[in-house]
């Protein structure tokens, strides 16, 4: 069971301090838990509830509303293929079908080795470069089937580890607290 680690509790506390009301930090803390473990389990939700002084049910109530928060395990690489209108008109559905074949899972599934979770997503705002996808929310446009296969090979071989961090890591730039002067309004 994964409660937040000591350094992450520190990060959580400084995040909470940014907001006039602690509960506003709920989504950032869910992201933090996901950065730690790749998904958010019950222990993490319990811990977040304690930090925010709300109930675990309230944490789950919010977590379950948002597509990016996973309450079950996710592959190391979350591959999100868009099939919304601009991608539909540019081969997005065919790209998703190709991805299912290459990875050997249907959309929504995770490969047996735990490397990849494939999902079909709504518009990810890269429509000028349709068809597009994201891996752990790092975007790729004009993705051909062969480019997809190369991407998967590179990910498996760890060649993109710098560009694409593990699932759950969104913002690697930390707020610079040496300059800030948090005074909850």
């Amino acid at each position: 069971m994964a409660r937040l680690s000591a350094p992450n509790v520190e990060r959580a506390r400084s995040t909470i301090a940014l907001y006039p009301h602690a509960r506003s930090a709920l989504i950032p803390l869910l992201h933090l838990a996901q950065e730690q473990d790749g998904w958010v389990d019950e222990a993490a939700m319990q811990h977040i509830a304690e930090l925010l002084e709300i109930t675990p049910a309230e944490v789950l109530g919010t977590a379950s509303f948002y597509d990016m928060i996973f309450t079950e395990p996710v592959g190391k690489h979350l591959v999100s293929v868009c099939t919304n209108i601009a991608c539909l008109l540019n081969g997005g559905v065919e790209l998703l079908e190709h991805a299912e074949k290459t990875l050997g899972v249907r959309a929504g599934g995770t490969t047996a080795d735990g490397e990849f979770t494939l999902e079909e997503v709504e518009c990810i705002a890269l429509c000028g470069d349709a068809p597009c996808l994201a891996v752990n929310w790092r975007f790729r446009g004009k993705v051909t089937p062969s480019a997809f296969d190369t991407l998967v090979d590179d990910l498996r071989a760890g060649r993109l580890a710098e560009e694409i961090p593990p699932h759950g890591t969104l913002c690697r730039v930390r707020r610079d607290t040496t300059k800030t002067s948090e005074s909850p309004a």
Partner: protein, 442 residues
């Protein structure tokens, strides 16, 4: 005529090396708008924005200055920048947060100063990982530079700016849902009235919610004056605006153009813009302003890109009215496009993204999705076509534009628009699907 790079207001720096860094921004006159604003009174700044008459760039198109004027005088007060861009085929804010985050930060500071906000939140769509990093970096740099924090540029004014990431929900682009989300809750739009967060917003306090592109225009407006902005465009649609062009065109992309002086035809066919329909095809229909807007056809190509011009056009809805520029995204469908499939994909989008609070939307979007799917899959019945219209009419009675409301927010009445448009324009294609028992395009 296409704008030269220097004539552009919000996308001038996009594409320049390291355009997202403080140094690049300062080299281009960055933060001069804020410096000037801090020598003005909040009322003078608001007056400049009123003079510019900039209409909100998020989708509703409400006058930004008027919104500011409605701010209830109470403390604390907040600014929330809406960077939750999720309207299908809209990708302008994504570009702005990644390529020009300092322009956004400077604009947010000007807005916060003018409206008396005590704290500013930059709510960025959670999926925009790089954008979030760039905005956080810009905020860090701006603190170090003295543009955010205590006694900004020795003016005596102080404010903190917080970068907040969303977590994946289309509905959070609706401003009251955005505030719920920022309060750590499910993204449920709030019941109106109160209509404007300027009266009751974040934590019940007066709050301004402005879109990324709107806010990004402010440094230019303050530096050059509201009148200079209003000199561009025509009528109520002043200035320039970014249009996201996608679909079956040769050169999809974001194009900043002068409003009203540019037409849909210019944008779709102009050599400096979309460059025409790909593979030498013909235009069949286009989405003029995001997934929520009623569709247009070839007969609408010469309409100017102006908010009122598009709203007052003779559109395709059975109940009358035009369409909207909405979020500024234009999706072009060519003669090879299956209209049933295209409309179904948008119907499914709305069904997935309905928050579930209101019955017409929660139930209606689900049924529209299912009925559209069975027609596209070849299992449809001829009476399904009228059934679709009937269900649509239950969600948005009268099927007109502007939309009648049966729900808390606009997701509901927007959801049947692609279907109703497609049936009105291409009913025979629906019939063909039923007669053949399959999609004629597959």
């Amino acid at each position: 005529m296409a704008l030269t790079q220097d004539q552009k207001i919000v996308t001038r720096r996009v594409g320049r090396p390291n355009s997202w860094t403080l140094q690049a921004y300062l080299d281009d006159g960055g933060y001069q708008g804020l410096r000037k604003a801090l020598t003005m009174t909040p009322e003078e700044i608001t007056q400049e924005v009123l003079t510019s008459n900039i209409l909100g760039r998020g989708g509703a198109g409400f006058e930004a200055g008027k919104k500011w004027s409605m701010m209830r005088k109470a403390k604390p007060a907040y600014l929330v920048v809406n960077g939750d861009e999720s309207e299908p085929a809209t990708f302008k804010d994504h570009m702005l947060v990644e390529n020009d985050p300092h322009q956004l930060v400077e604009g947010a500071l000007i807005c916060a100063f003018a409206t008396g906000a005590d704290k500013a939140f930059l709510y960025v769509r959670g999926e925009f990982a790089l954008g979030i990093e760039r905005v956080q970096q810009a905020v860090n740099e701006a603190y170090a530079y003295g543009a955010i924090g205590q006694n900004i540029f020795d003016s005596g004014w102080s404010i903190d700016v917080v970068v907040h990431m969303g977590a994946g929900a289309y509905i959070c682009g609706e401003e009251t849902a955005l505030l719920e989300s920022l309060e750590g809750k499910r993204g449920f739009p709030r019941i109106k009235p109160p209509y404007f967060p300027a009266a009751i917003g974040l934590y019940g306090a007066p709050t301004i919610v402005n879109n990324v592109e709107t806010v990004s225009n402010l440094p230019w407006i303050i530096t050059n004056g509201g009148a200079a902005f209003a000199a561009l465009g025509a009528g109520r649609s002043t200035g320039t605006r970014i249009f996201s062009l996608s679909g079956c065109v040769n050169r999809p992309g974001n194009y900043e153009v002068e409003m009203v002086k540019t037409t849909f035809r210019d944008l779709i066919y102009g050599e400096e813009y979309g460059g025409g329909i790909r593979d030498g095809g013909e235009l069949k229909a286009f989405v003029p302003g995001g997934a929520s807007s009623p569709w247009f056809g070839p007969q609408h190509l010469d309409l100017p890109l102006g908010q009122d011009e598009v709203a007052q056009a003779e559109g395709v809805l059975p109940g009358g009215g035009g369409s909207m520029l909405g979020s500024g995204s234009i999706v072009v469908m060519d003669d090879k496009t299956c209209m049933v499939r295209a409309a179904w994909r948008l119907a499914r989008f709305f069904a997935r993204e309905s928050c579930g609070q209101c019955t017409p939307c929660r139930e209606g979007t689900g049924w529209l999705d299912k009925i559209m799917r069975r027609i596209e899959d070849g299992a449809g019945r001829m009476e399904d076509i009228d059934l679709l219209v009937d269900v649509s009419d239950n969600i948005a009675p009268g099927l007109s534009f502007p939309y009648p409301m049966t729900t808390i927010c606009f997701l509901g009445p927007s959801s049947p628009m692609p279907i109703v448009s497609a049936i009105q324009m291409f009913r025979s294609e629906f019939e063909q699907h039923v007669e053949l028992g399959r999609c004629p395009h597959s």
